[in-house]
Symmetry: C2
Subunit: 109 residues, 2 copies
């Protein structure tokens, strides 16, 4: 929808001690699933220098409805159940509104 | 270089009061320039819900050398001088290492 505002977020997750690599792997499997969801512009999994148990995900969606639809599915379907089992606490979110720039699919550079 | 590690960062900037839209506009002009720099995978400018003076940039680069080369140019060349003039304080950075997922150019989904 041309009139819907894009939504994005940076999601910070802390793994059980020593499980950062496993957490990143579980999130990369989720990313494979998210790539097929309507409106998913980005779901990039990031390690964190000097904090081996911290993983960030950069999400960008074409609109809020697409984001909600993809993330509110049964957690088994997306693989998010494996992710939740590796966390020490609920994720922290920074909500943003992607405006433009290179790397954002479907937007002018 | 296949063996070089990608680098990324989330950059948080706070505009002078009431200047958030101007700051985002200045950063979108920087983004046009960054799109032409070697190794730039993403330079996405984001507004922030409920914080009109806060702008985030999502950067992803193919390797640290490309990032340093693009960001260490004369600030007049990239347009970053216009950005710095609109800030209340130096930017805050969260450094990350992009691993994969949809939206990261050149990586498997």
């Amino acid at each position: 929808m041309e009139t819907s505002e894009r939504v994005g977020r940076y999601v910070r997750m802390v793994a059980l001690e020593g499980q950062g690599t496993e957490l990143a792997g579980a999130l990369l499997r989720v990313a494979d699933d998210m790539a097929a969801q309507p409106g998913c512009l980005a779901y990039v999994v990031n390690a964190t220098p000097d904090e081996p148990d911290v993983v960030w995900v950069t999400e960008m969606w074409s609109d809020a409805a697409s984001s909600e639809a993809a993330l509110s599915r049964d957690i088994g379907e997306s693989g998010l159940g494996d992710v939740l089992a590796l966390l020490t606490a609920p994720p922290d979110y920074i909500e943003v509104t992607p405006l433009g720039g290179p790397g954002l699919a479907g937007l002018p550079g």
